[in-house]
Amino acid sequence: MQAVTVLRGGGLVIYPTETVYGVGVEATNPEAVKKLLKYKSRREGKPLSIAVSNQAMAEQYVQLNEQARALYRQFLPGPYTIISQGLGRVTVGVESEFGTLGVRIPDYPLITELVQKLGKPITATSANASGKKRPYSLADLFDHLSAKQKSLIDLVIDVGELPKNEPSVVIDTTLSTPLTMRGSFTQADRVFITHSDQETRQLAGKLMLKYWDRAQNQGLLIALNGELGAGKTVFTQGVGQFLQVAEPVSSPTYTYLNEYDYSRHDTRGMLYHLDMWKIDIKADFEQLQTEKLLKPGNVVVVEWWQQVAKWWPKDQQPDLLLNLEETDEQTRSIALKENN
């Protein structure tokens, strides 16, 4: 197969899957991955996934836990990307900033065979440039590519127009409870258990990654409830870490509202960290002028949300509502409601 030769030589291939046209380079070849990142542009630190031929191959690159194994049994091959803890065997930048890696086994024999022959995983990301139309045909794709992007393509496997299937559902299995990063999986509210401040911060970071597009395009409102010491500020520190805020994110109780500039990859904005603990009357709340905070690029985290939910502008509903509870010294139970 010509594609194997091209990939082995560090080339970039556009290939069909059961969802959309994907763009593949050999995921362990740094030069090839660099080329892919140039092609995709504006990734904003979003990780790439890989396509493998089967579970055995997957296990050479990620560590599968019980949750992941169950999902593999149930859904793969198929339009699902299962995120696990990576083993650091792919090029830097393919795994997420948390060291996790999404794996896909496409239900598309042409591709699994190709990967089998290559003996290495290929990147599995949609072929459109970031933020452009989903590519179901090469016409969809090429209409939105610049000449420079086109020049990076070494080979196209054209099988005509693909059926309009949704992109793969992305499920993160590295938390205590599977977290759907893209697509619908179940609608139920989730409860996550974290065993340290570090895990609570990571959960926040992973949720930020999931909602990063929304944060950039519309702004993100995160509402936190939970008693003193439940971990609300720790959670917000995770948000700050994800946004690469330079200073330590500390408690805003005294000043009601702390604000931080952030700059993550190409996006700049503000992180507003509010504490409504001392707010008992509407006049105090109004002084804070909170309605002005939510804007594209801004992330607004509100501790003690229940104190002010009734006064918050009705056209701004929390994208994420979390309830944090202390179960013992280190362990926190964090219930998540998402607003889709």
Binding site: L228, G229, E247, P248, S250, S251, T253, L257, N258, E259
Partner: protein
């Protein structure tokens, strides 16, 4: 040459404050929530200054000028807190200062609130008669700022030249005392009540962990003490043991835990960083136990120890802003801001 007389405004958070100073001498120092509610609460801080700064700021400024026994012609400049603090609150102070500056043709000098707390130890009361000799600190000094919103170790290389060596990574020390106080049903902010109950309590009754001992930096963390307190208090309530005596013991033990953490990090810092003086400022600097601990540390290290001469200079106030602006004018006599953006996260000497 006589030092210029400066009117200062501080609206960094809850308090609306105005003051008049001349060099190190404080001519007046008015704080809204205290002044108005003083009698009603017998000098104890109210739970929170509820009304908008906007309503209070004009009368407070008038009071500051009147108490200084002066009129507008003797005011040479207007100083105002630009940050850090709560953005909408800062906005009101800045707006007011700029308007007054224009109206009375006075230069406006932006000041960092934390620098104000640092230099508050150099303030002096107006002498009954005659002349007061200026305090001439020996530098470098280490300034410890402990308040409801800040806990910082700042190296003062020169006046105007600072380097922050440590800060809290979560709650401020005062905030920890305030919050746990509220868990003990002592209202909010409970810091001053915690202090008075602690005097009658047994500080050895409850053991508190010493945080951050395995971390080499001089940063502090108080959220662990808060969470530990919450757990202890919950148990005490369940077991119906939260008596008056127990509450006092708890306050004493908690205070000991909070201050020991500060002392532990501070001692390490002073072992490594050579300074000549130790300064203490911020709202919690009013706490006599903390003062005693720092004074004794300063004595062992053979350092001059300084604290603000009055309680009114420890909490948020404008007198320290007037004093700081005086130093700024000495260094940069032409300082005069025409427009000012609030700087809610204006760190001092950060890295």
């Amino acid at each position: 040459m006589a030092k210029p007389t400066i009117l200062a405004i501080d609206t960094s958070c809850d308090e609306t404050a105005a003051a008049v100073g001349r060099g190190q001498i404080i001519l007046s120092n008015v704080i809204a929530s205290q002044a108005q509610l003083h009698q009603q609460y017998g000098g104890v801080f109210p739970t929170a200054a509820k009304q908008a700064h906007r309503e209070k700021i004009q009368p407070i400024i008038k009071a500051a000028i009147r108490q200084a026994g002066l009129g507008w012609p003797s005011i040479k400049a207007i100083a105002v807190t630009q940050g850090p603090g709560l953005a909408p609150s800062l906005e009101i102070g800045l707006q007011t200062a700029l308007n007054l500056g224009q109206q009375h043709s006075k230069p406006v000098i932006p000041v960092n609130h934390i620098e104000g707390h640092i230099l508050s130890v150099l303030a002096q009361a107006k002498p009954k008669q005659g002349y007061r000799r200026a305090i001439k600190p020996k530098l470098p000094a280490l300034s410890v700022i402990v308040s409801g919103g800040h806990t910082e170790f700042v190296l003062v290389k020169k006046i105007g030249q600072y380097h922050r060596l440590g800060t809290t990574v979560d709650d401020a020390a005062g905030e920890c005392l305030d919050k746990v106080g509220r868990l003990l049903n002592l209202g909010y902010p409970a810091g001053p009540i915690v202090e008075s109950l602690a005097k009658k309590g047994n500080k050895k009754r409850f053991a508190f962990p010493l945080p951050m001992t395995n971390i080499k930096t001089f940063d502090l963390s108080f959220s662990g003490l808060k969470t530990h307190s919450k757990r202890l208090i919950k148990n005490l309530i369940v077991e119906e043991k939260l008596t008056k005596k127990t509450t006092a013991d708890f306050c004493a033990s908690l205070q000991e835990g909070v201050f020991n953490h500060i002392l532990y990090k501070l001692t390490k810092l002073l072992d490594e960083v050579p300074v000549k003086e130790l300064w203490l400022g911020g709202g919690v600097a009013a706490n006599l136990t903390l003062r005693a601990k720092l004074r004794s540390l300063a004595r062992t290290k053979k350092l001059t120890f300084r604290i603000p001469y009055s309680h009114k200079l420890t909490g948020d106030n404008a007198a320290m802003i007037a004093l700081t602006a005086g130093y700024i004018l000495e260094r940069q006599p032409k300082t005069s801001a025409k427009s000012l953006d609030r700087r809610p996260r204006w760190a001092i000497g950060g890295n």
